[in-house]
Structures are given as structure tokens and as C-alpha cells.
């Protein structure tokens, strides 16, 4: 699974993307956040406030309960501020 980070999520985690092998029991975004949060303090800092985060799966916005598979491209980011 490819996971991409943007804005202050990227800054706090310290990398802009990574490839992971999705554990079998991690089948939605929320579980993925919990799983990633154990990878270090930067992750924890970036991902702890789940309510403020936004997610996409394969370039479409999804909510935190969205199911995920190992071949998905996931992105995790703060609310967008374009325009």
C-alpha cells in the first residue's frame, strides 16, 4: 500500500510517502491511523487528532470508516485550503 502525506501531516511524520504491507486486520482508514501512530512520535503527533484529518483512497475523498486494500493509494492530510 502506498500512503502519501501532505501539509503539516507530512511535516510532522517527516516523509512525504511510504510503501507499507497492510496487515490483514487493518481493513479501514481508522485502523490504519492507529497502526501508523505506533510507528513513532512524529506519526502520533500527526495522526492523533483524527477528527481534523481528511483522507482519500485512489484519488477520491473518503471518510474514516472507508474499507481499504493493500493495493490502494491512500492519502492523509489536513482540510484543503486552495482557491
Amino acid at each position: 500500500m502506498k500512503i502519501i502525506y501532505f501539509s503539516w501531516v507530512r511535516e510532522r511524520i517527516g516523509i512525504n510517502h511510504e510503501i507499507i504491507n497492510l496487515p490483514k486486520d487493518i481493513n479501514n482508514i481508522e485502523k490504519l491511523l492507529d497502526f501508523l501512530s505506533h510507528k513513532g512520535s512524529g506519526y502520533k503527533d500527526a495522526l492523533s487528532n483524527k477528527k481534523v484529518l481528511k483522507f482519500s483512497v485512489n484519488f477520491e475523498f473518503v471518510d474514516i470508516t472507508h474499507k481499504i486494500k493493500n493495493d490502494d493509494e491512500i492519502a492523509i492530510f489536513p482540510p484543503v485550503t486552495g482557491g
Partner: protein, 140 residues
């Protein structure tokens, strides 16, 4: 229907030509230009860095444009959004729609601009003289 996500500046006159207003019988064209401001409240802005999510951004902009086209009889439309490091006075975004009647075009252009704010995957890092901070989304 045109969508461009680019580092380079845009030229409004050139983009207007591409819309080809004469041929498609457009009586009205409404254009929005968003620019980097000089100040945010009292803080002088040094730069504005715009990050985006390639592929997803273009897809989202196309979806927004299609939504507008489905809602109103628009003859042509264009969205250009820049990314990268910009400075006060620089262009950020250009939205144009044209239609036979002006009211349609006002509604459609404003709709696209509002949708951009919540659906297009851009993030802005503003730098003032003393600090850098990620802009927060607007409260509506």
C-alpha cells in the same frame, strides 16, 4: 472545459482567446482571479507556498467543472490553479465560465470558486517576516 494545474503564471487574455466566446455565442463571461495578498490581518506576507496532490487535484477540478456544467447551461469553462512558491500580487487561481446569459455565468463561476475551497487538494503555507504557518480552511 479546461482544467490546468501548473507552476507557471497564466495570461488572462490568452486564456480568454481559448474560450472562444464568439463561436459559442456567449453574451456573458464571468472571471474570478485569486491573488496572493500583501497582508494577512496586520502581518506582511513574504511568500505563499502551495502544495497539491497531483492526479487527485486534476480529478477533483474536473469533477467540480462537470458539476457546474450539469447545473447550468454553460458554453465554456476554465479552471487554472497554480502551485509552488508564490509572492504577493502573484496570481493563484483563474476561473472563467461563459454562457448566453450573464446570471448563469455569475452563478457558475461562484459555484466553482466555492467548491475549490473544499474539494481541491491544495494546501497553503504562508510565510510572514517572522514565521511560517499552514493556512486553516475558512469557516462558513
Amino acid at each position: 472545459m479546461v482544467v490546468k494545474v501548473q507552476k507557471e503564471d497564466f495570461d488572462i487574455a490568452d486564456e480568454l482567446k481559448l474560450l472562444n466566446l464568439k463561436k459559442n455565442n456567449s453574451g456573458g463571461c464571468v472571471i474570478f482571479i485569486g491573488k496572493v495578498r500583501e497582508k494577512n490581518n496586520d502581518l506582511i506576507i513574504k511568500s505563499l507556498e502551495i502544495e497539491h496532490y497531483p492526479i487527485m487535484t486534476e480529478k477533483q477540478l474536473e469533477t467540480i467543472e462537470l458539476e457546474a456544467l450539469n447545473k447550468w447551461p454553460i458554453n465554456s469553462s476554465l479552471i487554472i490553479h497554480r502551485y509552488g512558491k508564490l509572492f504577493p500580487g502573484d496570481n493563484i487561481v483563474l476561473v472563467m465560465t461563459s454562457s448566453a446569459h450573464r446570471k448563469t455565468s455569475f452563478k457558475a463561476t461562484e459555484f466553482i470558486v466555492e467548491k475549490l475551497k473544499t474539494k481541491a487538494t491544495f494546501w497553503k503555507l504562508e510565510e510572514t517576516l517572522n514565521k511560517k504557518y499552514w493556512l486553516k480552511p475558512e469557516k462558513n
